[in-house]
């Protein structure tokens, strides 16, 4: 049975990693994820886990070592933030192209410049096309649950794709929350044993990894990879169900909060979900038909399910915690709007950029968004397709 514990987000990541007891961890410290590697180092020093920890000299090397470890045929974990993820960028593509099940906890941090240590999604959104599965987490409970599920998802024989589990820097990583963790044995039973595939350490079956593909194979191999990523959706769904059966907390691609009969919906990822829910409860008491779609899976993007859930709404606001320089709004907005485009009926959709560099998002801002959605509905007019929340102009 699970037990209620009180932990920060970083400690939660470390606790999940302790229970997984991976074969190899390779990582490099960076705010706000540093505590993760510190906790894990202490667990190793105390003999709680016997993981090999490659204390890499950079994030590029950390992920390179993870790739090496993963081709060696065992469980591999890494954690980083912001600049660290940016420095890994080259290797992110290579890890996914090699179909290596690596778990990477990303404690979201704004990308420089200017340098900033606080949470926004520019780091993971910058990595959105790298071929990794991306799971987002509202709070510590979801962080914990996502990491355990990530192991099952990434190692599934139909998937074999690395997974990023994202949580908001400071807001989630450093805040102390109550959550339910499961017993070590139950976790171990749920994740199961690692099944090596084409291990480079299997000297009886010699493999070559990372051969050069010219015009005659590259495209075909990429297509295989894309197909694999799309197919992982089925596995994500079934693992989410099984997790629910096992531990009582079921997961899908997204969570709809009072969404079914809502006329005005907000779409967000990560910790902002909590703020929006509070506002919804309040507005619902006043008879307003407002709801939330909190996205959990950004890659592979669950377009069909989202279109289904949003197509009957009147107006939708998508909140992006990143800017996509020069684009028509943030990446989440573009995905959502595009998912709705071919629906015979569809809501109007607007975009709000918020929280860059850790700027606060309060209940007041969310209330303002819902008011704006009602205004748009009445006037049938969108003044600003892309707007900013809590910004001094």
């Amino acid at each position: 049975m699970g037990k209620r514990v009180v932990m920060t987000g970083n400690e939660t990541v470390a606790e999940a990693v302790r229970q997984i007891n991976p074969d190899v961890i390779a990582a490099y410290p960076i705010t706000p994820s540093t505590a993760v590697v510190e906790y894990i180092s202490q667990y190793i020093a105390d003999g709680l886990i016997d993981t090999e920890f490659v204390t890499a000299e950079s994030e590029h090397s950390a992920l390179s070592a993870c790739i090496g470890a993963a081709v060696g045929g065992g469980r591999v974990v890494n954690a980083t933030s912001g600049q660290g993820l940016a420095l890994m960028w080259e290797m992110l593509y290579i890890a996914s192209a090699m179909r290596l099940p690596i778990i990477l906890a990303v404690i979201n941090r704004a990308l420089s410049g200017p340098i900033n240590i606080h949470g926004d999604h520019s780091d993971t959104m910058g990595a959105r096309d790298c071929g990794w599965i991306q799971l987002y987490s509202e709070d510590c409970q979801e962080v914990y649950d996502n990491i355990l599920q990530a192991v099952r998802i990434s190692e599934h024989i139909d998937v074999r794709i690395p997974v990023i589990v994202a949580l908001d820097g400071f807001i989630t990583s450093h805040a102390i929350e109550t959550l339910e963790t499961e017993g070590d044995e139950d976790v171990r039973r749920f994740i199961g044993d690692y099944i090596p595939l084409n291990s480079i350490l299997d000297i009886k079956n010699i493999v070559t990894y990372g051969a050069i593909d010219f015009q005659d194979y590259y495209f075909e191999h990429k297509r295989h990879q894309l197909e694999g990523l799309h197919k992982s959706a089925e596995v994500i769904k079934s693992v989410g169900k099984e997790f629910g059966k096992t531990f009582g907390r079921e997961y899908g691609f997204f969570e709809g909060y009072r969404l079914d009969d809502a006329e005005y919906a907000i779409v967000v990822m990560n910790s902002a979900g909590g703020t929006v829910k509070t506002v919804i409860d309040d507005l619902r008491d006043k008879g307003r038909k407002v709801g939330l779609l909190k996205l959990r899976i950004f890659r592979p993007f669950p377009a069909i399910g989202i279109a289904e859930a949003l197509k009957t709404k009147k107006v939708v606001a998508v909140l992006d915690r990143t800017s996509s320089a020069g684009a028509q709004g943030g990446p989440l907005f573009n995905e959502i709007r595009s998912a709705l485009y071919n629906e015979p009926t569809r809501p109007k959709a607007v975009n709000y950029i918020y929280g860059l560099g850790g700027k606060d998002l309060t209940a007041e801002h969310i209330r303002g968004v819902y008011e704006a959605l009602e205004r748009i509905d009445k006037s049938r007019k969108i003044d600003r397709l892309v707007d900013y929340l809590n910004l001094r102009e």
């Binding site: 074969d23 190899v24 390779a26 016997d50 993981t51 090999e52 490659v54 204390t55 890499a56 000299e57 950079s58 590029h60 090397s61 950390a62 390179s64 070592a65 993870c66 790739i67 090496g68 470890a69 993963a70 081709v71 060696g72 045929g73 065992g74 591999v76 080259e90 290797m91 290579i94 090699m98 480079i200 350490l201 299997d202 000297i203 010699i206 493999v207 070559t208 990894y209 990372g210 051969a211 050069i212 593909d213 010219f214 194979y217």
Partner: protein, 313 residues
Amino acid sequence: MAKLKDLALREERLIGGHRLCPGCGHSIVIRQILRTVENPVVIANATGCLEVCTTVFPYSAWKTPWIHSAFENAAATVSGIEAMYRALKRRGKIKPEKEIKFMAIGGDGGTYDIGLQSLSGAMERGHNMVYVCNDNEAYMNTGGQRSSATPYGAYTTTTPVGKIKKGKQQFRKDLTQIMVSHNIPYVAQTSPARWKDLTDKAKKAFDVEGPAFLNVLSVCPTDWKIPTSMGLRITQLAHDTCFWPLYEVENGRYKINYKPKKKLPIEEWLKPQGRFKHLFQPENRDIIAMLQEDVDRKWEELNRLATYESSTA
């Protein structure tokens, strides 16, 4: 130490059919090195001529487990493989009949320049691996641009010879010394021109516990602009002029392994190579003098540090 005949009979782990240029030093170096080990060897190869030419999908010339992931991270990649090996062995998940050995291979670009950090990190962490730098003194895979291993005055496509500049304007980085400063158990400088020197050093490198580094002068006939049949003979001139001394540092102790009977002037090494042709024009003779001075100073320094122990074949 092994006899040539025995080594020649050992199984080939880098086989023919690859696309390296005729006379390329890389395959000679790696084949000789791999023949010295009887254990299985897992290799991570940095981007470069050797990597590209030996693994054009769907083919692979490697009869040993091999990975290429990127240019600057061969040492980091092996760090991960070797860590996984230790973890799986400790946890009883693999039980190898013979210990697996680990080797990283990079060109001078992948080692002296872009991969220096990951190399340094891996050596400092003490992973059990042999790092082999195939030093052909420039970025050959991309058509011959300068690296920090390119000698002063050499023509490369990014240090061309023009009215004002006459080839590379900087002396080469002494990577072997940098590796010695990492205080790892074994560091050596060698070349395939002296097969016994190379194979003895490779064997020692694989035998030590912990990291070992081999800096191997590896001829590139294409960009050194020499006949393909002359590679090893010209490489020998690098030893006879003391441009590329053969030496090793075992647990901090320096040993010179080859002293030419008569130390040849640096011109002998430069003259046969097209990349140094311009240095022989009268107005550039001062560059040759500078090169000579540099070689003399370094050779003297090395002699101060080292004892002499021949590895003559």
